[in-house]
Structure formats: C-alpha cells, structure tokens
Symmetry: C2
Subunit: 419 residues, 2 copies
C-alpha cells in the first residue's frame, strides 16, 4: 500500500474540500422553522423601521415649545386631552399646553413633537406639570431611522438566528427560502466492532465512532443516517457505499483508510472512480484522513482513531456541510485560551487534541483530553472543544497560550484559525 | 402602579431564579437521542478501558528481548508466524525471533510484549528485520490504563455531548436516564401587535418577540409552545395564563410588565397568587423584568423591548431551564472581547447590548447592535452574543476590553460572568 502518501497542510486540505463541494438546492420553510438555516436570498426590508414615528417611553406627548421656560420654580402645567395606548392613533390637533397621555410604541400624533416621561412629570387633577424645557424629538423614535423600505438587511448565505427570526417576523416574511440541509450517511468499518447491545467478545470493542459522529451531526443541525456494515470484505463494503451514494449527499466512513492490511477504503475509492482530493494531512492524529469526490457527492474517510475521527469531522465535514448550504461562516471559531495542563510531547505536525474548555472571569482555559491516560475517558466524555498545538520541536506547559477550536459554537466564523 | 419598585443586582436576580426552580422528572432515552440532554445518574464504567491490552499501531508484535542488540549494522531478523487483524486473537506461544503481524486495535497475544511499527521494519521473504532494540510495552495500550471497571466517568448533571455519546456506546449503554426537558409556553401581550400574516394597520406593528423567543428556545434545545392572545384585557389575559399553567412548566410573557396603564402582568401575578421573586433589576434595558413562581411553575415576565426581551431570556430563562434539568453548567459563558465600535452613552446600571461577535487570529471582537441607529436592524439580525457594559459614569470606546455573553455556545459554563 501507499506508504508514500504526500501530506498536505491542514488549511490546504480544508480549502480543497470547500472548493469541491456542490451547492444544495433550496426550499421554502415557515419563519418559525427557519432558525439555524441559511438564507437563500437577500433579506429585504418591506417597510421602514420604525414603521411610524412613535413614543419610546410611557408618558405624555406634547409640543416642545409649550415647555419653554419651565423650571423648578416655574413649573408649566399641561392638560391631558386624550389617551393613546400602543396600537392606537389620534388625529386630534393639540392646542397650547395640551398633551396626550401616550404609551411606549404608540404613534406620535402629528401635532406633538416630544414625549415627557412619567418620571419627569408631576401629575395634577387634569394633567401634569414639568420643570424643564423639552427639545423636539425627545423620547421619540422616528420613522425609518433604523432602516428604510428596500434596504438589504442580510445577504444570502447569512445564518438565521433568533435575531434574524425577529426581523423576518417584523417584515411579514411568514415563509423564507433557505438552502436544504445535506443528507449525511455514517458507516463505521472494522471487523473488531460490536454494536452497543452485542455481548463483548474477546478481541472486539463496541463501535463508538458512529454514534459520536451522529451526535456531532446533530450538534451541526443534521439528522444523520446510520448504516450497518455486514462484513468487512471489499465487495460488501463496495456495495454498501454504492447503496449509500443513492441516498445521501455526504458519506462519512470511519476506519479503513490507513496502511493496514484491512484498510479497504483506498481500493473502494479507486473502484468507484472517485477523485481523491487528499489522503494524507500534516496533522496528528488523523494524518490518514482521506477526502474524495464522486460527482456531487463527498466521501469523508475519517480515521478509526476516535480523537482523529472527532477532529476530522469538525475540521473537514462540518465546514463542508456549511459550504454546501452557502453559509458565509463555515468554520468553527478559533479563540485564544490558556493551556490548563502540561502537554510535554513534542510534535513535528500540527496536533489537534480534544479538550475541556472552561471559562473563568472572561478567560478561556483548555485542558487536553486523553493525554493524562488515567482520566482519559472522563475528559473525552467532557470535551467541548479542540486544542490546536502548532508543530514544532518543543512541548507545551500549563499556562501557555494556545488556540482552541470552539466546536460548541453554533454561529461559526468566516475565517479558518489554522495557518 | 408601583413606580417605587426596588431594583436588585442582576446576579442576585439570577440566583433568585435558580433557587426557586423545581427539578424535572427523568425519562429514559436511546443513547442515539441522548445528545444535548442532561445525565440523571452517574455514568459508571462497565469495563476497563482499554478492554484488553492491544496494539496501538499497525505492525509486528514481538518479544522485546529478541530485539536486544539490533542496530543498523546488525539487523535482527524475525519470522512472521501468524496474522492478528483487529477483532481477532491468538493463543500461539511465540518462539525466539518469531512475530505476529498485527493491526491497530487487535489484542496483543500473551507471549508478545511490544509492537514494531511497519515503518520501523524492513520486510523480508518470511518476515522482517529491525535495527533497534525495542522496549517492552512500546506501541501497546494496556488494559485499564484509561479507566477501570466501576469508575464514575461523569456525574449526574453532566451534559451529554458527542464525546459522552461515544462513551455511552463504549460501555454498552444503549439507553440512558436523563432529565425531561421543561415545557415552555410563550405569549406576547400588547394590543399594538399584529401576527406575521396580518396586513399592516396604522399604529400597529408585527409581533417579533414571540418568534424570537421560540428561536432562542430552539437554540436551547426546547420546542416551545406558542400561545395567541385574543385581546389585551385583564380577564382574557388571566384566562390565557391559567390555561397555559395547565400545559407548561414555564410561562414566558413579553410586554405588560412596565408601569404603563396597560401593563397587566403585575395584576395577573397578584390574582394568581404567584410569588413575585423580583420586579425590577438594576440593568438596562429590561429593568422591569419580572419573575414569579407559582408552585412548581415559573413565570418570566420579560420586557416588550426586543433587546431586553432577548437578554432577559438568555440571562434568566435559559439558566432556569438548565437548572430544572439539574445541569452542572447552567450559565452562558462570558468571555473577554474587544469592543468594535464606540458606545459613548454613559449608564449608571449594567447594560446588556446585543452584539455581532466575530473572531480574528484568536481574538474575539464585539460590535454593539442597534446603537448605531442607521444599521440597527442589520446588526440585530446578525447578533450572536450580548455585550455586558458595567455601570459607571463613562462611555466606552472602540478597542476597550469588554465581556460578552456567548449565547451561541451550547455547552455552558458553571459560573455567572456578571459580578
């Protein structure tokens, strides 16, 4: 087998994946189901915001000029002539020293130009008095000051988050066109793998990679399909993958991409006529990660090593899924953190290590999972991010500055954090 | 109405909410549906990890002592007597200078004690040669080195993330007991509110708070129930809320908690006999946020101001939901960021401002939404976090260090970021 695969840098590998994806079709969904989807068209304002000039406070709408000269010694009285609750309007023409009692959000009647807050007024029998001069426009939100009808509010490719849903509602978009989510199939290979309910047999272990990836897909908003491999021979695996190609847009396999005698994926890619984008990446673990393309389908051959599998999904698959939906933020954010434990092993290649991220006083701390073998399982079960250790000759110490890939951030980033 | 409400600090308000929640019951779910749920019991290792002593590499399993004295000039030959693929085992007793061809993950036969990687061996007709002395234990993962049968891997209250799902699978937990998610109902009050499909009427606006909160609930993993208010009078609102109390664990209302003439919620809480935990918080916007408890139900009266409504949900409701499921990390993480725009308005109270968070070279930047009125709608539609500006007499400038509440992080934090 090809021991001589040529490793490419991680960022080149990610870029190659993104260049090779095919855009999904679009579909129309209710604005109430649109959270977490990607806009397929620009979102355009259907009216000014605010829609009309309105009160920003509960209080009294007056003509500012009527308050001129007011002071603590010379309180100026106003008479309340009408009430304007939110949702109501009035066309009454204010006369000198008359006022509307008005609620937040109500339209400012034409003849008023400022709002006195309740807290600024002293109530009287038929109205109130003020002790200062008000300026035209106080406590008023002017029609169109936040956006004009026809403005492009968001561009195609933006994530629909709760704020976006509010904006869709505001503009009366009860439906919105979004990119379809890709269908993703997951298949673990390896004759040593037992399913969760099977009794343990000497030499075998339970399959944890498939369920882990299905959970990573869920976190990415995708309900993946799980496939079961009957046996680990070339022909069966080929048939399995052929069946999957009929049903999904993305195939994720785990295991079988290394140089072991039973690593069949390279032969399968060859037999399918898939274009191998890369089959070796300058990173640890997961150097044998292989990504191929067959027409508009992507095939991700992740390592069977659970850590490599986890990072490989977050580095390559998740951005590909986002890019297929035309997202403008396909990457996980990478942020500065402080290493919480020594990691003394020097590594020539960029290393990705699952980590427990925690936050104290605004600082981000990252504790590498699985390095300390005695608590490996616990720290893997708790891991919520990935530490990136750049390749070099030295190890790292507790307190060193490192970058972490934030796998638990749903909104993404527009730039990749590994150079 | 009570203009004299006494404001309490934000952190005291959050603590009061958490003290008053009632724990949800538990339910059993498939490990494949367990992602994002909270463990109701400690997760205990059902076997050692690794389950058996196994090869960590593809290569040859030998007796280390047979390689003693090997060098470039004195390559020591080994004969391959058997193959051990992953999932297989062998009880063959190695004789001097014999070897197993072995794959990653395969059980190490009793008579071997070290693994020579393929890359460290030069193949010969019936085996291979080595050029260095190997040490017992090289490239071998020893049974139980990562965890022992009976170890508590995670404690009750831990979030089940993709790594946790992998651990559940490893230990054969096809089902797992988790806390039920609370049922949450959302009701917007205000006679100025139109539904998304209604034609615009002078003085009225479309309801955006309910859809926004439903999306915030989705982001928090909860499918909320939307309630429609028929009219804005006390009796109807009372009946609506009474109906909701029959069906949900948490009621979120927006609007109607202020001092306006039509702010009915305080009267409703009174009529229901609900215990008001607080009705004024030392923060802006959203100072009128009111939280009440009625038996084991929580009633969140959020402000009708969209920004206050958004922050109020993230500050009070989301932690309450997490706490009801006994989560050990109920808060959003607060992290250090750089302010990306001036915010010159001084404010005596802690201010929460929706923000666009973005990431460059590991640094976190936060741009306040809605402060710059001309792009308010766009920046609200893009907001993915909340800036916390501590109360004080001065404004803030671009480049200042601020803290941001990361509303898009699914895994949470065990400490609250506002003192």
């Amino acid at each position: 087998m090809s021991l001589n695969r040529k490793p490419i840098p991680v960022n080149d590998a990610v870029a190659l994946v993104l260049e090779n994806i095919t855009l999904m079709d679009t579909e129309t969904v209710s604005y109430l189901d649109a959270h977490d989807r990607i806009l397929a068209n620009d979102l355009v304002a259907t009216h000014d915001v605010p829609l009309f000039t309105k009160s920003a406070m509960d209080g009294f709408a007056i003509r500012a000029r009527d308050s001129e000269g007011a002071s603590g010694d010379n309180r100026i009285p106003f008479k309340v002539v009408e009430e304007v609750p939110a949702g109501s309007t009035s066309d009454y023409e204010l006369q000198p020293n008359e006022a509307f009692r008005i609620m937040t959000g109500a339209e400012i009647p034409e003849s008023a130009d400022t709002v006195v807050m309740f807290e600024q007024a002293k109530e009287t029998e038929d109205g109130f008095t003020v002790r200062k001069t008000f300026t035209s426009g106080d406590n008023i939100a002017v029609q169109g000051e936040e956006s004009k009808k026809g403005d492009v509010i968001l561009e195609k490719g933006a994530l629909i988050n709760p704020g976006t849903v509010a904006v869709l509602a505001t503009f009366g978009y009860s439906e919105v066109e979004v990119f379809k989510k890709p269908e993703v199939g997951v298949l673990s290979t390896g004759s040593e793998l037992l399913d969760v309910n099977e009794p343990l047999v000497r030499g075998k272990i339970r399959n944890s990679n498939s369920p882990m990836i299905l959970a990573q897909l869920k976190r990415a908003g995708i309900e993946g399909k799980r496939y079961h491999l009957q046996s680990d021979d070339l022909e069966t695996l080929y048939e399995n993958i052929n069946d999957m190609l009929e049903e999904v847009d993305i195939i994720i396999t785990t295991g079988g991409v290394s140089v072991g005698d039973y690593d069949l994926l390279p032969k399968i890619y060859d037999k399918l006529g898939a274009e191998v984008l890369f089959n070796k990446v300058a990173m640890r673990p997961g150097s044998v990660t292989t990504v191929s393309r067959l027409g508009d389908k992507m095939l991700f051959g992740l390592s069977g090593n659970p850590s490599a599998c986890y990072s490989g999904f977050e580095l390559f698959v998740r951005p590909a899924i986002q890019a297929m939906m035309s997202s403008e933020k396909v990457y996980a954010p990478f942020i500065d953190a402080e290493l919480d434990e020594d990691f003394t092993k020097p590594n020539p290649f960029t290393r990705f290590i699952r980590a427990e991220i925690h936050y104290v006083d605004g600082k981000v701390y990252a504790k590498p999972s699985g390095f300390n073998k005695s608590n490996a399982v616990t720290s893997i079960a708790k891991s919520n991010g990935v530490i990136v250790l750049p390749g070099g000759t030295r190890g790292f110490e507790k307190g060193d500055a490192v970058k972490v890939m934030m796998t638990d951030v749903t909104s993404g980033s527009d730039n990749f954090g590994v150079k």
